[in-house]
């Protein structure tokens, strides 16, 4: 194999830090594909979960339990007529979804799925993430303006006001966590995403529990602000369908509209991973310092395989419970095949966990560790994604003045107080 491929093997650095463009590109493709698939899965899960919250069934027709519904939706959206309103600003109307999409995906450069499982590590990582995701709002604002229609414009105005307000509280909450990273002998913190997780590793505590309840309050502020930042219910004022039909994307249709949706969900995953990196220990498994024996390492490394085994079991049960009518024959075969694939993945992961259980530098052990990092990170993201759906199903939409009041008069003072208290406690402790 050429040197540019093999030279990265055994490296404990991200491809960006090691300067290996080939593997950086591979990581970019893997992350892009993974996020796109995750968005499709999220689309299905959201429709299903929302339906069950409201005692409905949700999509049931396309594939078993509507599993193929996202694919059908994607085909439908790609084939739909692409309408640009006659009075719209053509160029900006065209470019607006791309701005949102680019910003949402650029952020993934620095998300650390593991100590070396990121495209690159930047010393300004967290600032880069917050900054670039704030550019995504421009896409929404510009889309609302370019549509040259009243509802989108109101949606865009609301969105820009909301973003500016919540970004402040969000930033201050992150700063209080960055202060916590400086609790070391050197006395300087870090803004690097990988560095923040390593600081938690070194201090032996997730920042959500640090200086209790200060870390927890900062996390709660971020968790509220990130819903507002991604325009999700209950803060989805920009697309409040009962008031503005669909808000900023009222005039969009077909593929362009789906780009907005892709950007929105990608941004949701991105902000969740900021919260996970900064407060929830990033790629670390639960209790890495309390249960640190190699036996515990082995037990926790079984989790990815067992998760897939559980999914395979659910699919198998679905196959068995499928009605025995001949109409469901193809669906049944498909679901059985899906169960078999999941079972195979589970088997391979379990074999890998057993083969790589000794903490040496063998390829299996390395690979096993990498899978563990990515698994715990993705599991935490999945929890956040479910919370997003849960919020949407549970809470009614805020009124705009209430939204502004919460942002400026509640979250901002609390986050400032938390910042100052964190600094004081940090100085007293060290």
């Amino acid at each position: 194999m050429p040197n540019f491929i093999t030279s990265y093997f055994g490296s404990t650095l991200t491809p960006g830090a090691a300067g290996n463009q080939f593997w950086a590109l591979v990581y970019v493709f893997v992350i892009f594909t993974g996020v796109s698939v995750a968005v499709m899965a999220m689309n299905w899960l959201e429709r299903k979960a929302l339906a069950h919250f409201q005692i409905r069934l949700g999509p049931m027709r396309v594939g078993p339990h509507g599993l193929l519904q996202p694919i059908a939706d994607a085909i439908k959206l790609a084939l739909k007529e692409d309408i640009i309103p006659a009075e719209a600003d053509q160029f900006i109307f065209w470019v607006a979804p791309l701005i949102g999409l680019l910003a949402a995906f650029t952020v993934y450069t620095v998300i650390p799925f593991g100590p070396s499982e990121a495209v690159s590590d930047m010393n300004i990582g967290i600032l880069f993430m917050l900054g670039v995701s704030s550019i995504g709002v421009l896409g929404i604002v510009v889309a609302g303006w370019a549509s040259n229609s009243h509802y989108p414009l109101i949606g865009a105005l609301r969105s820009s006001a909301q973003m500016v307000s919540y970004e402040v509280a969000m930033g201050l909450a992150v700063v209080s966590a960055v202060l916590m990273t400086s609790m070391n002998e050197k006395g300087t913190g870090t803004l690097s995403m990988i560095g923040i997780v390593q600081a938690q590793q070194q201090q032996g505590i997730w920042f959500i529990f640090k200086f209790f309840p200060l870390g927890f309050i900062a996390f709660a502020i971020f968790a509220i602000a990130m819903i507002a930042e991604t325009n999700r219910a209950p803060f989805d004022m920009a697309e409040a369908e009962s008031e503005l039909t669909a808000g900023y994307h009222t005039e969009y249709s077909g593929l362009r509209w789906s780009l907005f949706m892709l950007a929105e969900y990608a941004a949701m995953i991105a902000v969740s991973s900021i919260a996970i990196t900064v407060w929830l220990g990033g790629w670390m498994r639960p209790f890495p310092n309390l249960l640190r024996a190699p036996a515990w390492d082995f037990i926790f490394s079984l989790f990815p395989g067992l998760t897939f085994a559980g999914l395979a079991a659910i699919a198998a049960i679905g196959t068995v419970r499928m009605p025995s009518h001949s109409f469901f024959k193809i669906q049944r075969i498909g679901l059985a095949g899906f169960a078999a694939v999941l079972g195979l993945i589970s088997f391979l992961l379990l074999v890998l966990a057993v083969a790589g259980r000794s903490p040496d530098a063998s390829v299996a052990a390395r690979f096993n560790a990498a899978i563990g990092y990515v698994y715990w990170f993705v599991l935490k993201i999945a929890v956040f994604m479910y919370l997003f759906i849960w919020y949407r199903a549970t809470w009614p939409r805020y009124r705009f003045d209430q939204l502004m009041r919460v942002g400026w008069k509640v979250l901002l003072p609390i986050s400032l107080a938390v910042l100052i208290l964190t600094a004081i406690v940090g100085v007293l402790v060290s």
């Binding site: 010393n123 421009l138 303006w145 930033g171 300087t188 690097s192 070194q202």
Partner: protein, 197 residues
């Protein structure tokens, strides 16, 4: 306390790839984008189009900051200018009536003054370019594609730390004065907008 885990990016971690690649190409591309965006800001009739061109300029300048090994300044540029301030610009532009503004004459009577100021600035730049070596001490190392990656890594990864230390150390007073300026501006805005306080 394990110092090995802590130090985020020890300088030994930098591989050969940290050396800048295709520097002239990126410089000319970014500089060209910045200038084109700047020209479009004043040439375009529609205020929203101008604002978008300004964003292009700001982002291109961000890239130039990155090339100058100032990642923190670049991040702040994105965060504050391209993200926050331009969003407020757009917000205001959408609220005011731009139909009338589009019909106004764009180049008004004070253009000779503007021209003189522009020429003065250009002359300053030219003189700085010509006599740069004499004006500014040659302390910074010359960075090229073949230069020492260790020094580059040191610069890159030490940037934020050093910035914070300087700001809390020798430049505290200047920093606080600058923040006082912002405070005055905020107070002025509040007094001008609120009828009764």
């Amino acid at each position: 306390m394990n110092p090995v885990i802590h130090s985020v990016a020890p300088m030994t971690m930098m591989g050969p790839g940290m050396a800048p690649v295709a520097t002239p190409f990126f410089f000319y591309m970014l500089a060209g984008l910045a200038i084109a965006g700047g020209v479009l800001v004043i040439v375009l009739r529609n205020a929203v189009h101008s604002a978008l061109s300004l964003i292009v300029t700001l982002l291109a300048v961000t890239g130039l900051y990155l090339m100058l090994y100032a990642p923190f300044v670049a991040a702040v540029q994105i965060f504050v200018y391209a993200g926050g301030i331009m969003l407020l610009f757009l917000f205001v532009i959408m609220l005011v009536n731009i139909d009338r503004a589009a019909k106004d004459r764009r180049f008004n009577r004070i253009w000779p003054i503007g021209l003189a100021a522009g020429c003065g600035l250009f002359a300053l730049f030219v003189s700085a370019f010509v006599k740069g070596r004499a004006l500014f001490p040659d302390r910074m190392m010359a960075m090229s594609e073949s230069s020492n990656t260790q020094q580059i890594a040191d610069l890159l990864y030490g940037n934020v730390d050093r910035m914070g230390q300087y700001r809390m150390g020798p430049y505290t007073f200047a920093f606080e004065i600058a923040s006082l300026l912002l405070l005055v501006a905020i107070l002025g805005a509040v007094i001008m907008t609120k009828k009764k306080i």
